[in-house]
Structures are given as structure tokens and as C-alpha cells.
Amino acid sequence: MKVIFKIWRQENAASKGNFESYEVDGLTKDMSFLEALDHLNELLVSINKRVIAYEYDCREGICGQCGVFINGRAHGPHDHMTTCQLHMRSFEDGDTIVVEPWRASAFPIIKDLVVDRSALDNIIEKGGYISAKTGTAPEANAILVGKELADKAMDAAACIGCGACVATCKNSSASLFTAAKINHLNSLPQGKQEASKRVLEMTRQMELEGFGSCTFTGACEVECPEGISILNIAEMNARRTKAKWLG
């Protein structure tokens, strides 16, 4: 299998980037998309060129480190999938595949396809936790949590923090990411004590980081590898309004 990769190259944050084309032969349909890039990098080394920087770690769709725009879509042509789960069988022999980094002002480019997503950590820092010191917990079954509630919290908690929701949003909004964490914690009895403070401080930080507003286009939930529903954003907004007015 042969494809043409058109890849964004940029030396560092300060420099200007550009697309470069690479014709790559010797691929197979079984290969993952990242393995095809690995193969390209080995070819580059063999002609003494600098390798392309791109991110990955677990390569099984859970760590959230990988993520690039592929032919104009976050994580490639399929819904609800990470870049590392994409395989070359999704492409045809001879295809041109355009690969770009996440584009969002809150995610500055570090090099080639690698961006800085620490803005997401900063949002978590402002309340994406329950203030419980080690050693202070009551017996686990002392506070009951019904199955429906536990399942709902888990649906939101499943977020892998890849940033595809931000990258695909025309406003570069981090609302889905932020809402997922707020709803996970605020819906559980353990998270209730800090619920108002959490929603106000985390949404405030989201704005400070330079993410845009949500205009409910629904693009994010399509690309989210965990299929986190946009209804989470509506719920977050309701929680925020309630916290603002009722405390």
C-alpha cells in the first residue's frame, strides 16, 4: 500500500510552519495510522533527515496523548475514535492524507504535530477534585450510590483529555471537557460539598485559558473517543446558573 502524507512541519513554537509531502510505500492495511508514521520516520532517518514529532503513548485509546487532524477531522475519518486506534484499512491505496496538529489558540504548537495542552490541566487544578486527604475516608459502602447515578457519573468520567473536542470546535471551546469533569464529580454524593465552588471556578478558568464559548454545534460529541454527550454542557450550564444565583 502506498499513500502520500502531507504533514505539517514546524520547528518550534516561534517558527513558521508549512506542509511537506512524503510518498510512503510498503504500508499494509493492518498497520495502525501511527505505525505508518513510525515507518515514515524510519525512512527519514535512513536519509539522515529529522524525524516528524507526533504524540502517542498507550496506543490503545485510553491515555489521550495522541491526537492529530487527519483530512480535516480530529482523530481521522471515524466517529468516536482516537488517532492510535485508526488503521490504514480506513484509507485507499494512493490516497493523499493531510495531517495537521490540533488548532486552537489555547493549544500552542510545540513542534510539528505536538501541541501544548496544559490549559486542560489548569482547568482541573481549579476544582476537578474532591478535597479528601489520604486517610480521612469513611467506609466505602457507608454512602450508597445507585447504579443509574454511578453509571451516569462514569459516562462523564470516561473523558481521556485528548482535546479533540476543542480542536474540532469552531470556537475552540473546552466546554465538553470541563462539563464532563464537573458533572462526574458534582453528581456524586462525595462531590456535593464543593459543587458550587467547583462549577464556578472551573468554568472561570476555562475562560481565562482562552477557550471559546459553546454555541451547541454538537461537533465535539461526534469526535469524542468516549462518546461523551453534549447534554453534559447543558447540565454544566444549568449547574453554573444555579451556583451563581443560589450559591
Binding site: E11, N12, T28, D30, M31, S32, L34, E35, D38, H39, N41, E42, V45, S46, N48, K49, V51, A53, E55, Y56, D57, C58, R59, E60, G61, I62, C63, G64, Q65, Q85, H87, K111, D116, R117, S118, D121, I124, E125, G128, Y129, I130, K133, T134, G135, A137, P138, A140, N141, I143, L144, G146, A150, D151, M154, A157, A158, G161, H184, Q190, G191
Partner: protein, 635 residues
């Protein structure tokens, strides 16, 4: 002489006695002490957050872009705890016994007992931190079974338990960052350890964005850097997982214990090509309901669903009737290898076995199976394109966990005073084979509960000493050595890629030092690895420079350490002339092909000291006062 510092008293009282006698440091003094934590998985994040809560100043390093990506995130099935919520006869004692037996009696009684003892409060802790564990309709927690155990003590959050626990630990870490008690250094990788007058006093790291080398000094250094099974290249681990931190520590004087004890997981996705970079794990929890089989006829090419019941060999149920599909991992992996090697493997490359849910779906209904394993089936479909609700999964053994690691005493301190190793990077609780759902447990217990209680004992002395600074000439010397090492790599400018050498190493290790080993093969492997090391340093090509983000250089630095580690693993496997747990020496087996342990000669933990290019063996004898080691039978 290795002193494991096991406390006095009966097994049940050892940890309590330890805590009563351990030194304390008052809160005003704690803030004068600095601790470096390398790694941000369950062990690292748990330790860093808890030490910060106690008042210490903590710096936490990880190579990923965020602490939330550490490889604990990928553990799927669950975490064990002796809560006995299911009223099925579980207890701390039974969990201790299962774990000790599961490890084939090659771990310390006192450590294993402490692990079981602290498991119940750990579940309380995680629930309080907001982990959405699976619940019954009435609101109580649910349990399921895991391999090597006959009770239900595994807690889980769908097939994403590791992710949920890690996110809880990460959130606590960031809580303490906000409190300005933890400083975070993502995208920083440890390249060496600084030891001053015999004590660990700091580290040299590389900033992975700028390439700059940086020095950090501290009163104690904690390594929480995970497992080293990427030495096999193809493994279930994240691509960035590496053994460099513990290997550097080893070369600076820390003993390396039981390096050859590495676990091959029975249920991963099979390799499909040479270019493959990763073997995806399918959770052991699937063996609760899935049945493993191969065709009874060699080379049977029929589609799985068309092979009648009578022509299927459910070999685990046949060989191990009392544990069946839930036989422990080492045993299940070897049994799969035996069938595959004998010519009964399935799939395009005949390197897999079936994991079938047909009976479970008939019995419990599609909805129940979806509820239990939905995300795993989804993942399977994404990767293979196959719907496992309609046809069996194809699975195969893959390198997974490393029981071996830096030797630590009961306090989790290595043989270098002031250097601690916690979580998978130490050798402490799992012996020669780890039971499923005990990995998240050990990492968490080490980080949250044990280390924060033991490190004071050392730091109480550090208070009275001068605090180290990076101006000390030893920092200069070690940093220069690191620079030289990097320059040497960049200056080879050969004609082969780093991955080429990693593939070569992986092949040798998988062939000779994985599921079954023998003296001849191990000797051959040692010679082959020496050849690969030589070729690597003469023919590797690392393009780009060191003062920039250079992923190729990162890979080369990690591989240079894996190559040396491979030598030690084979040396250790060669020295241990018995079969135990995951270490199966072909020369030492029963007539039925089961592991033949030799307690008279090998009831010890091997602890290797680095000695230039060779390794010196030290032995920590294992004594069993509470459980008589028996032949480990799951039949």
C-alpha cells in the same frame, strides 16, 4: 548483607508495630524537607499528593505531557480488596494467602500481608475521591472474580478501572499543586541519579521540549517509574514506558531484584505484522465469562462458529478443572503457548486462541454482557474490525508486567539510602507471578499508605544534615556524564534506526527469556545481546540534535538502557535453576509439564549489584513462618 527490616511481632501486628516505632517529624519541620517523585502513575501521584498533604515540598516529574497519561491509565479490569462484601469467605488472610501462592512463594510474607491488610481502606479512599466504581441497584459496590482466586474481591469501573483510579490520583496531585505544595514537571525525563556520600540527593533530567539538562536536589528521591517489559519491544505497555530510571539507579548502586520475573499476559491481541508497535491488552476480567478454546484438529481452517462443540478443546477447563478459565496468568499463558506451538493456533498467523462469549450471551443475555464488557468489545472492534458479540475474539500471550525491579526493604527503600522505589518499578509483593487486579492495588498502597509512613524514618535524620544543593560538584560530574552519553549516541551516525535494534532485542528476549527458558537458549541470548549492543553503538543513526524536542533521541536513550537490562534479565533467568511462577525453565518441570520449584536451593530473592560490565549476586533468603510453601496447584 541485605536487611529487609521486617518488623517484630506476629504477621497481623507487624505493620502496626512498625508504625508505633517509626519516627515522626513535626509539621513545622516537614516543610523544610524536599522530596523528588519521578513518575506520576498511581504510585507516583499517590505518593506525591499524600507527601504534600503531610507538609513536605514535593517535585513530581513525568515524561508525558500530563500526569494524567501515566500508564496506570491503561489497566482495565479492576483492583482487589479484602472487603468480603460478597460474603463468600474472603478475608485479609485469604487474600494474603492467594497472593503469596499466586507468586509461587517467592515474595516476603510480611509485605504481602501488609498489601492485603491495607486493601480495604484503599477502596474507601478511592470512593471518597469520587471514583465511579460499579454499583448494584441498591447502591452498594459490586465485585467480580479474577484469575487465581475463588472469591469475588475485584472492584471495577467498567473496563476502565486504571483510568478512573489514575484520574482520582491525578486530581489529588493537582489539588496539591494548587496548594503550592507540589511542583509539576511534565515532559521531563530522568537521565541520571545523583548520589552524594552514599545517599540519593538529586536527579539530572532532560526537558523534552528544549532538550536542556536540568539539576534538581532533594532530601530524598522516590522512583515510581513503572515496569520495564518494553524490553521485549512488543508488549501491552505504553510506547514510552521505559526502565531507564531504575537502570540508572542500579548503575549508581541500587540492587536489582529478580529481573527475570516478567509476566506474559494470556489475553492480548495477537501480532499481525513486523511493523506492529504494540500488543493491546484485553482485560483478564473477560475470562469471568469468556471461554478459551482451540480446535481439536490441527490446522483446522474452518470459521470458529462452524466448528461444533465436540470438536473444540477448552484446554484450560480440561487441564485445570477447579479454576478453569480463571487459572492464573502464567499458567494460562503457558497453556496457550503449548497449544499454539503444537500446531493448534488459530488466526491468519496461527498465533492465537479463541476467547468465546457465545455461552455467556446465551446464559446472561446480550445486555448483561454489554454492561460488563461493552467498552472492551468496542475497543476490540475498533482495532480488529471484528464484532466479538458474533464471533469469538482471537487472543494471544503478550509481555505485560514486571514483578522484578529495584530491591526494596519493608520501608520500600532501595540499597541506596534515601532512594525509594514504589509501584511496579520495585520488587516487593508479587513474587514470581502477579495476580490480576493486584497491580493497581500495589501501586496505590505503596504510594498512598506505605511510603508516607516510612519515609519519615529516613528524613528524620536528613533534618539534621545539610540540605543538598545543585552546586555540589557531584551534580556537575553526573551532568557531564549524561552530556557525554548523549553526544556519544548522536555521534555514531550509522545507518540503522533505533527501532531496528529494538526489534532485534525484542526478538531475542521473546524467544529465549519469555514464557519458557532454558540454559542453552539463555547463554545464546546473552551472546546475541552483547552483539546487538556492539552493533547499536557502531551503527545506530539518531538524527536531529539534543537541544530540541527529539523523539528519536528519547527512544535511543531508553533503548541503550533496555539493552543492558536484557543482559541482566537473561543472567538472572540462567542463574535460577528451577521453575517458579512466570519463570519457567524447561529443564525443571513435572511429567505433566507443570513448574517444578526447588525450595531447598532457590527460596531466595536474587538481588544483583552492578559491577562495571558484570553483575554480582546477593541473596535475600525467604522464610515462611505462617504458610508452608506447597506445590502450587490449580487443577
Amino acid at each position: 548483607m541485605l536487611d529487609s527490616k521486617i518488623p517484630e511481632g506476629s504477621l497481623e501486628n507487624k505493620w502496626r508495630n512498625y508504625q508505633i516505632k517509626a519516627q515522626l517529624i513535626n509539621p513545622a519541620n516537614k516543610k523544610k524537607l524536599n522530596i523528588i517523585v519521578v513518575g506520576s502513575g498511581l504510585a507516583g501521584a499517590g505518593a506525591a499528593a499524600t507527601l504534600a498533604e503531610l507538609g513536605y515540598d514535593v517535585k513530581c516529574f513525568c515524561y508525558q505531557d500530563s500526569a494524567r497519561r501515566a500508564h496506570s491509565v491503561a489497566a482495565q479490569g479492576g483492583i482487589n480488596a479484602a472487603k468480603n462484601y460478597q460474603h463468600d469467605g474472603d478475608s485479609v488472610w485469604r487474600m494474603f494467602h492467594d497472593t503469596l501462592k499466586g507468586g509461587d512463594f517467592r515474595s516476603r510474607e510480611a509485605n504481602v500481608y501488609r498489601l492485603a491488610e491495607l486493601s480495604a481502606p484503599l477502596i474507601d479512599h478511592y470512593v471518597q475521591q469520587g471514583v465511579p466504581f460499579a454499583r448494584e441497584y441498591g447502591g452498594v459496590l459490586v465485585n467480580r472474580s479474577f484469575g487465581g482466586v475463588q472469591v469475588q474481591r475485584t472492584f471495577y469501573a467498567r473496563g476502565q478501572t486504571g483510568q478512573q483510579l489514575l484520574l482520582a490520583a491525578y486530581s489529588q496531585l493537582y489539588k496539591m499543586k494548587r496548594a503550592k505544595k507540589v511542583e509539576m514537571f511534565p515532559r521531563h525525563e530522568l537521565l541520571d541519579l545523583v548520589v552524594i556520600e552514599g545517599r540519593a540527593k538529586g536527579i539530572i533530567v532532560r526537558d523534552l521540549i528544549t532538550g536542556k539538562l536540568k539539576r534538581f536536589a532533594a532530601d530524598a528521591v522516590v522512583l515510581a517509574t513503572g515496569g520495564y517489559s518494553r524490553v521485549f519491544r512488543l508488549s501491552t505497555l505504553a510506547i514510552g514506558c521505559n526502565g531507564s530510571a531504575i537502570w540508572k539507579a542500579h548503575k549508581r548502586g541500587a540492587y536489582f531484584a529478580a529481573p527475570s520475573f516478567t509476566q506474559i499476559h494470556p489475553t492480548a491481541l495477537p501480532q499481525t505484522s513486523e511493523a506492529q508497535s504494540k500488543l493491546t491488552l484485553m482485560s483478564e476480567s473477560l475470562r469471568n465469562d469468556g471461554r478459551i478454546w482451540v480446535p481439536k484438529k490441527k490446522g483446522d481452517d474452518r470459521k470458529a462458529n462452524t466448528i461444533p462443540e465436540g470438536e473444540r478443546d477448552y484446554y484450560l477447563e480440561r487441564r485445570y478443572p477447579s479454576f478453569g478459565n480463571l487459572a492464573p496468568r502464567d499458567i494460562a499463558s503457558r497453556a496457550a503457548k503449548e497449544r499454539i506451538d503444537a500446531g493448534y493456533g488459530v488466526g491468519r498467523l496461527k498465533n492465537a486462541v479463541y476467547l468465546d462469549f457465545k455461552h455467556a450471551i446465551e446464559r446472561f443475555g446480550m445486555e448483561t454482557i454489554k454492561d460488563r464488557y461493552g467498552n472492551l468489545f468496542k475497543m476490540y472492534k475498533k482495532i480488529t474490525g471484528v464484532d466479538a458479540y458474533n464471533e469469538p475474539m482471537q487472543i494471544s500471550p503478550a509481555a505485560h508486567f514486571s514483578m522484578g525491579g529495584l530491591w526494596v526493604d519493608y520501608e520500600l527503600m532501595t540499597t541506596i539510602p534515601g532512594l525509594y522505589a514504589i509501584g511496579e518499578c520495585n520488587f516487593s509483593d508479587h513474587g514470581a507471578n502477579r495476580l490480576g487486579a493486584n497491580s493497581l492495588l500495589q501501586a496505590s498502597i505503596d504510594g498512598y499508605f506505605v511510603l508516607p509512613n516510612t519515609i519519615n524514618n529516613y528524613l528524620a535524620h536528613a533534618l539534621k544534615e545539610d540540605h543538598p544543593t545543585t552546586e555540589h560538584p557531584e551534580f556537575e560530574r553526573v551532568e557531564n556524564e549524561v552530556k557525554e552519553h548523549i553526544n556519544k549516541l548522536l555521534s555514531v551516525q550509522g545507518n540503522k534506526t533505533v527501532d531496528h535494534f529494538h526489534r532485534e532485542l525484542g526478538k531475542v528476549m521473546w524467544q529465549e527469556c519469555a514464557m519458557s527458558r532454558n540454559a542453552e537458549g539463555l547463554e545464546k541470548a546473552i551472546a546475541q545481546i552483547k552483539g546487538i549492543i556492539n552493533a547499536f553503538w557502531n551503527e545506530v543513526n539518531v538524527t536531529g540534535g539534543h537541544k530540541e524536542m527529539n523523539t528519536e533521541l528519547e527512544k535511543a536513550l531508553r533503548l541503550a538502557d533496555f539493552l543492558e537490562m536484557g543482559l541482566l534479565m537473561c543472567t538472572d533467568a540462567l542463574e535460577r535453576e528451577e521453575s517458579c511462577g512466570a519463570h519457567f525453565r524447561e529443564e525443571f518441570q513435572t511429567s505433566e509439564g507443570e513448574a517444578l520449584r526447588n525450595d531447598d536451593t532457590y527460596s531466595y530473592v536474587s538481588a544483583w549489584e552492578y559491577n562495571g560490565g558484570s553483575f554480582n549476586l546477593h541473596k535475600e533468603d525467604l522464610t515462611f513462618e505462617n504458610v508452608q510453601p506447597t506445590v502450587r496447584s490449580y487443577k
